[in-house]
Symmetry: C2
Subunit: 727 residues, 2 copies
């Protein structure tokens, strides 16, 4: 889901976009905002092989190739037909496939192909955001703040500014807006999207193709995953966006991508466009230190226990396996990411490098009284913020994860919705503003599809145990009250009994009941006495208080971080791209392998032969039996690469990417689709913090493998015809 | 230890060496007996770059470069100075280093360097066999057998022939002889060696160099192990071989190797000479089937439990760790080998290929009545032998492993020695002939160094448990007697009590007592009533009976296997090299990397930089701190490779090798030492059964890394001066 990102700013930093005028170093590094593309970057891409003119690349009237790219909320897609057909990753569309599936009719396993429009089922929970326009609103935002504000006041003022600007921009129009902070708040941009709310599933290969290699191969090269799926965008017959309805018609995009007309080769130019989530390229050593010593190790520890709970249940109950598949995949992915991050920090000595940079910066300041006066305060103040955050970050992390799933999430959402209802729309937490209601309702409606009572219960027990075990000074009062008078060695039994009582007493398992509760009003809701609601209400004040402390931290950092970026740019006399923030970015690179370690070279393409080489006959290295027949008969059609003499499967490029880029189109020099980005290599995980040119690669599925599977394995002729690949 | 290999033969197969006259296919495949080198092979090597003449390569008077190669019993070494200095692998000399070490003075960990001759300690349990001559004795051996003999009679007759030929050849001379069956018995060769019995330790690097990567990297590429050690051969002042004595003097070999005078590069010619143990290139599908379904899986299962026992004790008691290190390393190595074998069988579909070959053979026979008559019986008869072996191979395997270690090994050896004493020397089991007495005594003497009571006890319990759990029809009577009347669920307790009684009642832990028992005579030995001896005596008849059944199997196969090889050669009109059998072989190849799987390439050299890349600060990826200083200072001396711009560490060649080749010298085109073979790559494990040209590689330590470590890390100037590397 797409959410507004609120990052405040200070008035003293009003110089914004001008920074892009510095010279560009490391051109393959950096995800450049599409609306801030410098001519210099475009010329550079053209010099490296791009054959498109500026207008063919991107236009404000929506007709450039990049205009075909859409945000799917946490992933990227692109239009590939005039009838709203969207191509994205299998793992991006996974939630939709999972919700279509049951233990009896498992589309995850079998794959799915709609032969006609009528057969296309709803992609539950999915929206597509088509970028319509962008506008710099830095002055407007900064008019809400002044230097006498406390960090929390600043945070709230900027949030207020963003909400009001958005409200005004959306007023009376069929659009969805957000204000994004660039460089952590050096400037602000208002992005206006068409939010298409009716997405449907068109074609999904079986998981033995789309998720081949599974968690084992995740982040790994060589890779052999056919990580693609096709969705379709629908709008009302009058062309307006609309919730799912039978009468809706396919959306007709202004721009859609053509399939590559020539084979992709080692060394070829490759352009990526998409919605990368977050990078942290310009953070200080204090962030890295906290990530190394607290954030990633704690996350790994919690997620290990969580995935063990799921695995235990899945081993005994296939339904638990199906319903928790998406969550488990997400948790495993996060764990591997966290491990890779820690390994990368160590391998590239990131903390040392940051410390070294900061020492150099201090030495520079020592020789320049004016700079010292302006910037000397930054690092000590950031340090002091991190010292403070250590006192509450563990409690806050437990709350943030417990709110992620199942009945507790429902209870908390319902309770908070009722509380927030008592405020005006613009005063509310942005996630609880009126415009979020349809998404909130939809989530509550579909909860059962990802809910498994026994798993949900055990997860809650795990979090309560961890809360009960917090050290003195960091206790959660509500949990202490629940366990008041229970001796240390009986806590565990008490927690289990308490949780069992929640599940046996609640009405939240009834979809009508939970939807009705949205309209209860706080007082009545509490009087109804649903134990889960009461539990959420009991935790509520502390959750919100911790959030306020975090908001104050963010408020302070929203002043300090842009100052730090500005100081770096002035000191180093170099343009820095803004960190990724879920806005449309482009980046160019080339098809290229790498040398991961001494005496080992990775080539840039994998092949169908390599798919068979990994086959073990069991998940995640199982294959549809027809694949063997196709290889036996060498029935590769036009998808055989003349150099590899085999069907190419996945390939590496030097592009810069991160989470959120999943599903991004890879375009060749003519702007044609050559593949879909679906992962970074293991060595690049820590690239979120530092781009290491010789090691950072994106992993992409080759469009020829997509077509081969669609054509030869799944006979998806209708899809291929729609894309103009078959007649 | 070196043992005679007894494989019988049938008179009908008298055509021997003539087969080498067929054309040579796959020249890089095959380990060719040094005494049967065809001119054709030498010409071929010369065409591929070898600059040596036939005489410089190998001569019967001991002056060729290959004459510098010695058998160390299970591994290979070579002379590298006129004063008997031998270079071999760290893992080959490991047993000697281990026996020098204690928990307090751990030379495994620290390494060891004797600065003078006087400082060189005995390499306990080590012999060096210097090949003096060889002679074809096929006719003599075959004169002992006739076609009317049963398989067991044949087996015994050939064994008798071999013993008598050896006895006559050794009579009155300072030599050690053995008769080796070539091609499983197509021909027989008498090999005469000088057996040097006083070996000493000169220089061993720390295990953090010599075993860097440990079990994790074992069989793996890229590799970064400095797997080398130096020993010295000593003889009596009169030049005769002698047991260790202070008055002994360094042995002066007729030939010793020179260190390479030019850098080794990708693509260079490389010659390997050594004592490979066993290959099975010409076996039938029945062997493979039994290996896949019984031999390797059962071995893995037993060794897993065994290594867990050792690990458990080592975690609690460092002394157990030190004393069991060698055994643990051996078991881990065997397990990884077994896994690799099974993976290779599957990857290269070895069973299918053998079955296919045999089907083709049958089809060929069907069209040729004469060949059908001569060879049609072979495959059905081999099948029938394997059907029978299945009924007793599990019991036999348990006996063979239980006899490998500790007090049970001592008890069984002593008991059997006394029994065998009642026969004439030539009638005895060859391992119990008079000439073996010094080795038997030495082993009993040194038992304590590799003995840890608690580990030994638990191992014995494991084997008894497994024996007690054997299925009906395969029971061991002696074990049934021990457990007579014990209900199923009390067996475990009974086994533990029985074993505890053995250890508390035995005198075998006293070195004088166990040595004295060798001279007791069976009757007196039994009357003395040592419980361990009585237990060995109780098992003895069944162990021997199973051995007789195996001998009969070997007897039958010793007729059938040579017939099979002969049939293959006649059918395919192609020369086959004889399988490895612990005799001196040479083989040539080139320095070359490989592509282990889709999109991955392995380069042929690793570097010191790669050593540091793997560093984790803990075993097996720990390093001596001085290494970092050397790298920091780039203090690489003359050992830096100009192309790699770093110190080369290990390298790959296409040579054909197997266990026993460990420590083999790699020679360049001038016959100079460029490295030591110490492993095969994982993909080549199953090459014992089938050589896959594009995948089979040997892993070698570069002599420049040996010199760099000796010079810069350990300051072993005396060793380098002796080799002529330093002045």
């Amino acid at each position: 889901m797409k959410h507004l990102k609120f990052l405040p700013v200070t008035l003293s930093l009003l110089f914004a976009i001008a920074v892009v005028c510095f010279s560009l170093l490391h051109a393959e590094e950096g995800m450049w905002p599409i609306d801030h593309l410098s001519k210099e970057l475009i010329r550079e891409m053209q010099a490296k092989g791009l054959s498109l003119s500026d207008e063919e690349l991107y236009t404000t009237d929506g007709k450039g190739v990049i205009n075909a790219v859409v945000d799917l909320g946490g992933g990227t897609g692109s239009f590939v037909s005039p009838e709203g057909l969207i191509i994205t990753n299998h793992h991006v569309a996974f939630g939709a496939i999972q919700q279509m599936s049951t233990a009896e009719n498992n589309y995850i396993e079998k794959g799915f192909l709609a032969k006609t429009r009528e057969d296309e089922p709803q992609a539950l929970g999915f929206n597509a955001y088509v970028l319509l326009s962008s506008k710099d609103v830095t002055e407007e935002v900064l008019s809400y703040v002044n230097d006498s504000m406390s960090p929390l006041e600043r945070f709230n003022a900027v949030e207020q500014a963003q909400k009001e600007i958005v409200k005004e921009a959306e007023e009376g129009r069929d659009v969805f807006c957000e204000v994004a902070a660039m460089y952590g708040g050096l400037s602000y941009t208002l992005y206006t999207y068409l939010k298409i709310k009716d997405l449907r599933v068109v074609y999904v290969p079986p998981a033995s193709i789309g998720n081949y290699g599974g968690d084992i191969d995740n982040w790994m090269w060589p890779r052999h995953t056919g990580d693609f799926s096709f969705l379709r965008a629908y709008v009302a017959p009058n062309g307006k966006t609309a919730e799912y309805s039978e009468e809706n018609v396919p959306y007709r995009p202004k721009s859609y991508l053509k399939i590559a007309s020539e084979p992709t080769r080692e060394g070829d130019f490759a352009l990526v466009a998409g919605y990368p989530g977050h990078t942290y390229r310009h953070v200080t050593s204090y962030t890295i230190e906290n990530d190394i010593n607290f954030y990633y190790p704690t996350k790994i520890d919690i997620f290990n226990e969580w995935t063990n709970i799921i695995a235990d249940h899945a081993a005994r109950d296939p339904e638990a396996g199906v319903k928790m598949a998406g969550l488990k995949e997400g948790l495993e992915n996060s764990k591997k990411n966290a491990h890779g991050m820690l390994e990368g920090f160590q391998r590239y000595r990131l903390l040392d490098r940051k410390l070294h940079l900061e020492e150099e910066f201090k030495a520079f300041l020592a020789g320049d009284a004016q700079m010292e006066k302006e910037y000397g305060h930054i690092l000590p103040e950031i340090k002091s913020q991190y010292d403070h955050v250590k006192s509450y970050q563990l409690q806050r992390m437990l709350f943030s994860y417990i709110k992620l799933r199942g009945l507790f999430q429902a209870a908390y959402t319902i309770y908070k919705w009722n509380v927030e209802q008592e405020k005006t729309d613009l005063e509310r937490d942005p996630d609880y503003m009126e415009r979020e209601l349809p998404d909130i309702r939809r989530k509550l409606q579909n909860l059962d599809r990802k809910y498994h009572p026994a798993v949900d219960r055990d997860m809650l027990v795990m979090f309560l145990r961890r809360m009960a075990a917090l050290p003195a000074g960091r206790r959660i009062q509500a949990v202490d009250e629940i366990l008041a008078g229970v001796p240390e060695d009986e806590r565990d039994v008490a927690i289990n009994e308490f949780v069992d009582a929640l599940y046996s007493g609640t009405r939240l398992t009834d979809v009508e009941a939970r939807l009705a509760m949205l309209d209860s009003g706080t007082k009545h809701l509490v009087e109804e006495g649903d134990p889960f609601i009461l539990f959420a209400a009991q935790l509520y004040p502390e959750v919100e208080e911790l959030q306020e402390r975090r908001d104050a931290f963010d408020g302070a950092l929203s002043v300090l971080r842009p100052q730090w970026v500005k100081a770096l740019m002035e000191w180093q006399k170099q343009a820095l791209y803004p960190d990724a923030n879920n806005t449309l970015r482009i980046n160019y690179g080339v098809v290229r392998g790498y040398a991961p370690r001494d005496a080992v070279s990775y080539e840039s393409f994998t092949t169908l032969d390599g798919v068979l080489e990994k086959y073990r006959g069991e998940d995640p290295f199982d294959l549809p039996p027809q694949i063997f027949e196709l290889v036996e008969k060498q029935d590769f059609g036009p998808y055989r690469d003349p150099v590899l003499n085999d069907v190419p499967v996945d390939f590496l490029t030097t592009n810069d990417s991160t989470g959120g880029n999943s599903g991004s189109p890879l375009l060749n020099h003519k702007g044609e689709l050559i593949g879909l980005l679906f992962d970074g290599n293991y060595e690049s995980i820590s690239a979120d913090f530092m781009f290491i040119e010789e090691m950072t690669r994106t992993i992409n599925v080759d469009i020829r493998y997509v077509l081969f599977i669609a054509d030869k394995l799944n006979n998806a002729r209708n899809v291929l015809q729609e894309m103009g690949v078959l007649e």
